[in-house]
Symmetry: C2
Subunit: 281 residues, 2 copies
């Protein structure tokens, strides 16, 4: 009866000391760091009993908002910068390689396979834009057979999967395969900035922090080629109002792309961007 | 475009820098500490993308297990030692005062008011025990008119609210009011140790950590008197197997009570314990 009793001072050691010999070592490592930081957090802010109750209620409602069409805990992770941090930790790349950014919840596995040069826009809404560039390795060698999977929101700021029955399935999406020159080019629209869903617990948190829910306009790219690390990224529309205040912290300086106004061309805008992949280890 | 972009190095500053001038100051304080520790945690354990996904799924399922009869997030807080830590932070008391411990989810507001000396046991199951002692202030002066609200599990290890229709409503519960001598006494049963619900996400976590889900046997006491701080506590059955390994870390040395075997008395056991309250500020 002299050991093991919990006090404010020994709280972390007491909890960590409880794990048994059959514990999963990585779970122990992760949960131990979690307990250490969770307790330090509560001590640091002198968490009040009523605040703890608000926290329990917040987490419960966040979980209960999740369903097939919505993942409020991912949104929470995104808006606290955790998603981008995990992305950064897991995708440290050499200088010159294209940087990753958040995957987001709107990718689909069965996007339409299109012929190089085709348009991905199916509803005719929005200002047309020619996207073009090359997929290269770190030496500047073109990568043939790279899969370039692209998706953006519509002129109204919604992805097709958010508006089934309103937008045609596959609108503003497409999968392209590079040829020997590593080039890609297709017509899409100049994307629009949009708010993340802010009618749930995350929206309430943002309001309490006086933060807006907008993401700067961006085109999603998933670029994959055999022998190379998968690249999950966006290109951002240079000059967008929300570029420096992306609600999910996804913007990176190197991913801000030119969107040049075209006069007398087949499209209204042109956005050139090269993707540089790193060899898989 | 030179400021505000998120990197692994500046992740905390970038997120905290986003709060607006209209933010709620206490929310900013709490969320800032949370972000700082959450990011430090992810960096420290080099959180893998797949582990982040497991975490999102764990939190989502935890939220979805919650309902009128179950609060899995409180259980998570309890088993990570957070509930006891918040209790400790919010109830620092002078030497000599009775210590708090976790409230638990099984208190009811409408427990039967009983006459001093009555039995709280209504199903006739279990070994009878006389609980007795005094409610005192720090100077040893008896407190008259103190409400002593008590509850325990049954001989089978369940509270009445967990078994509606099986146990009589109010079984092993009662509210008593002290007279001028500050004394309380009533008959209950010697409580039994029991597992917290372990068929959900928290149970899975405990299994991965090789931790058992048991709580040592205890009698709950909520002692309140006008002009004094509310005392939320248990007395623990001395000698219980799980005393030093309470799944929710509720045991404190000062709360382990004698349970003496009685020969030839009206009850089989006797557990004396005095409660010492602190004046409200």
């Amino acid at each position: 009866m002299t050991i093991g009793f919990f006090t404010e001072e020994n709280s972390v050691e007491t909890v960590l000391g409880r794990n048994g010999p059959g514990a999963n070592p990585r779970v122990v490592e992760v949960v131990s760091a979690l307990v250490k930081h969770l307790h330090a957090f509560a001590k640091e802010v002198h968490l009040m009993q009523e605040e703890w109750e608000i926290g329990i209620d917040f987490l419960t409602r966040t979980g209960q908002l999740c369903g097939p069409e919505r993942q409020e805990f991912i949104l929470l992770s995104d808006t606290l910068g955790l998603s981008m941090l995990v992305d950064a930790i897991n995708n440290r790349r050499p200088k010159g390689a294209t940087e990753n950014t958040v995957f987001g919840p709107f990718h689909v596995d069965d996007a339409p396979r299109r012929k190089m040069g085709d348009s991905i826009n199916m509803d005719g809404k929005g200002e047309t834009c020619l996207y073009e560039g090359r997929v290269l390795d770190l030496d500047g060698t073109p990568i043939a057979g790279a899969k370039v999977d692209v998706w953006s929101d519509s002129a109204d700021g919604f992805y097709d999967v958010q508006q089934p029955g309103i937008q045609p399935k596959g609108n503003n999406r497409g999968v392209f395969i590079t040829g020997d020159d590593g080039r890609y080019w297709f017509t899409g629209i100049k994307p629009t900035s949009y708010p993340i869903p802010d009618d749930g617990t995350v929206g309430k948190m943002l309001a309490q922090l006086d933060r807006h829910p907008y993401r700067p306009a961006h085109m999603h790219f998933l670029v994959a080629a055999p022998g190379y690390q998968k690249l999950v990224t966006h290109t951002f529309v240079g000059g967008d109002t929300y570029l420096e205040s992306d609600a999910v912290f996804g913007t990176k300086a190197s991913l801000v792309a030119p969107f040049d106004k075209v006069t007398g061309g087949a499209t209204e805008w042109r956005s050139p961007f090269d993707f540089v992949l790193v060899k898989a280890e």
